[in-house]
């Protein structure tokens, strides 16, 4: 076994957990559980950020860990749970591809992402550069989730999970983005969820369902 320092092992474990949670989200059809998984993913992300901040001594990483904890573990899941209760969407419909099929596609995507991240890994000089591949796969898996789901709610959670992946990628490739960018992204996500929350009500008002395939037809009667 390679003799890695303890913090490195812990960071690797966090990265592996993020990947595992992405797969769990991909296979989960209960929207409530999906939100919980998203919150856990945020918590793992915050733990990884905190670990890295402690290790590198970079002050802004502490701040972004706190931001992650407040926004992605507490506030957004609370907001989403409230939306779920008000809209009464507890289950997603059967995804376009069955669960095992999605999983296999997911595995291929992870291999692809690892190959994609190889050049970045070679360029970066951080201690966490090997986790870039995992960050890319988290992004792509979230993307796959958005493609295979029909309900607006799951697509929004996929979008949020994608942002987690981007955040983790930036963190492992270059110890995080500048504070201004990070704050901007956090604000963007917050506003996006608030706006999408309004959208949910509008979509349901119009079609009496959150199934997005209603939006695919251009005219009402053909």
């Amino acid at each position: 076994m390679t003799h890695l320092p303890l913090y490195q092992q812990l960071l690797d474990t966090c990265a592996a957990l993020l990947l595992l949670l992405s797969f769990a989200m991909l296979s989960q059809r209960r929207v409530v559980t999906l939100v919980n998984l998203y919150a856990v993913q945020g918590a793992v992300l915050a733990a990884a950020t905190l670990l890295l901040a402690w290790r590198t001594g970079e002050g802004h990483l502490y701040l972004s860990a706190a931001l992650t904890l407040a926004l992605k573990v507490a506030f957004l899941p609370w907001l989403l749970h409230r939306l779920i209760r008000r809209l009464e969407v507890y289950w997603d419909t059967e995804p376009l591809l069955n669960v095992s099929g999605t999983m296999l596609v997911g595995l291929v995507i992870v291999v692809f992402a690892f190959a994609l991240a190889q050049p970045i890994t070679l360029l970066a000089s951080t201690a966490t550069r090997s986790a870039v591949g995992i960050a890319v796969s988290v992004v792509l898996l979230a993307f796959l989730m958005m493609i295979t789901r029909r309900k607006a709610m799951s697509q929004v959670i996929g979008f949020l999970s994608m942002e987690n992946g981007v955040f983790f990628g930036a963190m492992s490739a270059s110890y995080g983005m500048p504070m201004v960018v990070e704050l901007g992204v956090a604000l963007d996500v917050l506003v996006a969820v608030l706006v999408l929350g309004v959208f949910f009500f509008q979509i349901r008002e119009r079609f009496e369902s959150l199934d997005l395939h209603h939006l695919e037809a251009l005219k009402e009667h053909d």
Partner: protein, 316 residues
């Protein structure tokens, strides 16, 4: 090869033969305690085997010779498998003949004979069980191989003793790849040994049974061998798990009597813990529908492949 190596080899097979029924008895005992029932005796499996060996064998009229030889083949493969799994020492004279992939092949051979024998008499239950067993097998085998590949990648060898020596010598580290494959291995173990989420070992009066359906036609000594082989299979799987994920206490290198004195109690403690753990898993989970088994084993495969990928990416 020294004399002690041969002694270890013989001892390992003898211990496997002797302890396999006790492991099942202990598992059943733990399960009964967890479910607030009065526990059956630890020696019940032994008494069962003795009873069956003393009975007169009844064989169906239209059974072919295959039906008669299958129990011996299945039992023989399991004994052989017990010989090549390093449960107590890693310098075993037999292990040079077969690596982990051959071990998986040995399990597959036993499975083929068992399913053929189950279909031989031509009863509905036997065929049904054989088909299900094959479904479970073909889904569980790739996952098991993937688990072994993760460990092989880490120690760059497919021979189980080398893997065990490498993992036992390495310092105690968190390895996400190995942790994922450990989860995958537990799922495969449950499926392969007809334990609760996949099959119910406590009954042979259920339409969804797998293992029990295959041995319904057997009686007396044939049944005893089949049951003993099943117990050995459980013992072997648990020992593979120890070799891959809990290699502490196994005597590495050339061992003397002292090494064995450490290895035997270590094995006993690990077996007791594993039995209690399995009983806990079986108590908290419910038997699932047969149609859900592919999903269950798909998850195992996913875990194993994820372990492989994570190891390749992170553990370079």
């Amino acid at each position: 090869m020294s004399v002690t190596d041969w002694i270890t080899q013989v001892l390992e097979v003898v211990v496997a033969l002797a302890a396999a029924p006790a492991l099942l008895g202990w598992l059943n005992q733990c399960r009964a305690w967890l479910q607030n029932r009065r526990a059956p005796s630890l020696w019940l499996p032994y008494r069962n085997l003795r009873k069956l060996f003393h009975k007169e064998a009844v064989i169906a009229e239209n059974a072919s010779p295959l039906f008669r030889i299958a129990p011996y083949v299945v039992f023989g493969s399991m004994v052989l498998a017990a010989g090549i799994i390093p449960s107590m020492g890693t310098r075993l004279p037999l292990v040079v003949s077969a690596d982990a992939i051959a071990l998986v092949g040995l399990f597959a051979a036993a499975r083929v004979f068992m399913t053929l024998a189950a279909m031989d008499v031509g009863t509905a239950f036997g065929t049904l069980g054989a088909r299900r067993e094959m479904m479970v097998g073909f889904l569980a085998e790739p996952a098991l191989l993937m688990v072994i590949f993760v460990a092989s990648l880490i120690s760059s060898s497919t021979a189980l003793p080398v893997i065990t020596e490498h993992l036992a010598s390495g310092h105690l580290g968190l390895s996400p790849g190995l942790a994922f494959s450990a989860v995958a291995f537990v799922l495969v173990l449950l499926a392969e040994n007809a334990r609760i989420p996949v099959d119910n070992p406590a009954t042979h009066l259920e339409l969804t049974m797998i293992h029990e359906a295959m041995v319904l036609e057997y009686s007396a000594r044939h049944l005893a061998l089949m049951e003993w082989a099943a117990q050995l299979k459980l013992f072997n799987y648990v020992c593979i798990g120890f070799a891959l994920f809990l290699p502490w206490g196994v005597a590495t290198g050339h061992i003397g009597p002292v090494g064995l004195l450490v290895a035997i109690p270590a094995l006993a403690v690990k077996l007791a813990a594993a039995g209690a753990g399995l009983a806990l898993i079986e108590t908290v989970s419910a038997k699932m529908r047969v149609m859900r088994i592919p999903e269950f084993l798909g998850t195992a495969f996913l875990f194993a492949v994820l372990g492989l990928l994570v190891h390749v990416l992170l553990g370079a």
